[in-house]
């Protein structure tokens, strides 16, 4: 660095108006690129949990119906085969 002061560093030899915006664009775009998938991951997991919750409610209801309709019968909700 030719300029030995902090002011000289920020002045960039008169090209500050070009150099610093270039670096700003570089970092802002990459920060946006980092944040976007983070938010998407949160949304995907939230939707997944909502779906799982709905499924478990439905399964509970089916189990109750089955217990009422055929107390000694074979389960219609067979566990998934291994």
């Amino acid at each position: 660095m030719n300029a030995h002061t902090l002011q000289g560093f920020f002045a960039m030899g008169g090209y500050a108006a070009y150099v610093w915006p270039a670096y700003a664009v570089f970092f802002l775009v990459l920060i946006a690129d980092t944040i976007a998938p983070r938010l998407r991951r949160r949304r995907v997991l939230r939707e997944l949990r909502a779906r799982l919750a709905r499924q478990s409610v439905r399964q509970d209801r089916a189990r109750q119906d089955q217990a009422r309709d055929r107390p000694n019968g074979q389960s219609i909700l067979t566990p998934p085969s291994p």
Partner: protein, 252 residues
């Protein structure tokens, strides 16, 4: 010869295995990106001397050139992944191709904007329809086309196949971008860095540039892996391994 390498690759191609692998690698890649990036910034902005022709304005090179390399490198990765996805129908290859596109578009955008900010003081214009600049702009449109086509379909995998086809056709543009400065008369300067032979740049300026190149490579790995992990969760939503992750990360 043992065949553990193809076996390992085969296993890595399965979504739950890759999800775990990417999760383990990603933080390290991000840390290396920060480390090399910080060193490159210090070397480029503070230690490197001013250019005898361009003064301090040339310092844009330390982000412009690595971004330009990444814009082409990521397109090549996307093209290869798209080819694998179309031929062997591997889900992971589809995801890698589709999730590379936004990162590539980001680097192409950075290349165009920083190039414009560099061109104004050096050439006296923000933009000119010259071979290098125009082909780089076409590269941005190709990335945006791939992203748009992917999201235009209701069915994700159908969209991925259509977009993969476009990505493969677009590969033709990558050598055009690279060789444009040799093939046509252009305002843009020729290559500064030469893999085979003498580079036209002093070591003081070269090492920060190479450091930033490494930083952007590691950044790409980190960003890609984060995106791929999320995409795999969305694509495999009904599977047991995803259910376990959704339940265990309930608070987050």
């Amino acid at each position: 010869m043992s065949n553990w390498i193809p076996l390992w690759l085969h296993k890595l191609g399965s979504p739950p295995t890759f999800y775990r692998f990417a999760g383990a690698v990603r933080p390290w890649a991000m840390a290396l990106a920060f480390l090399f990036g910080a060193v490159a910034l210090y070397g480029g902005l503070v230690l490197a001397p001013a250019d005898y022709q361009q003064g301090e304005a040339y310092r844009i090179i330390f982000i412009h050139v690595p971004s330009a390399w990444m814009s082409m490198f990521i397109y090549a990765v996307m093209g290869v992944a798209a080819f694998i996805a179309l031929v062997w129908r591997i889900k992971l290859a589809e995801v890698v191709a589709m999730e590379s596109a936004p990162i590539g578009a980001a680097f192409t955008f950075i290349t165009l904007v920083t190039g414009s900010l560099w061109g104004k003081p050096m050439w006296g214009t923000w933009w000119t329809w010259d071979a290098r600049l125009t082909s780089e702009l076409v590269l941005l449109f190709l990335y945006l086309g791939v992203i748009g086509l992917y999201h235009a379909f209701e069915d994700r995998r159908q969209g991925a196949r259509a977009a993969a086809f476009l990505a493969i056709i677009g590969i033709i543009n990558v050598p055009i971008v690279h060789f444009s400065v040799n093939w046509w008369n252009t305002l843009h300067q020729g290559s500064t860095i030469n893999l085979f032979g003498q580079s036209k740049i002093s070591w003081d300026m070269l090492w920060p540039l190479l450091c930033m190149m490494l930083a952007t490579k590691f950044y790409y790995i980190a960003s890609l892996f984060r995106r791929v992990r999320t995409d795999l969760l969305a694509l495999e939503g009904g599977k047991d391994w995803v259910r376990r992750i959704a339940e265990s990360e309930a608070g987050q």
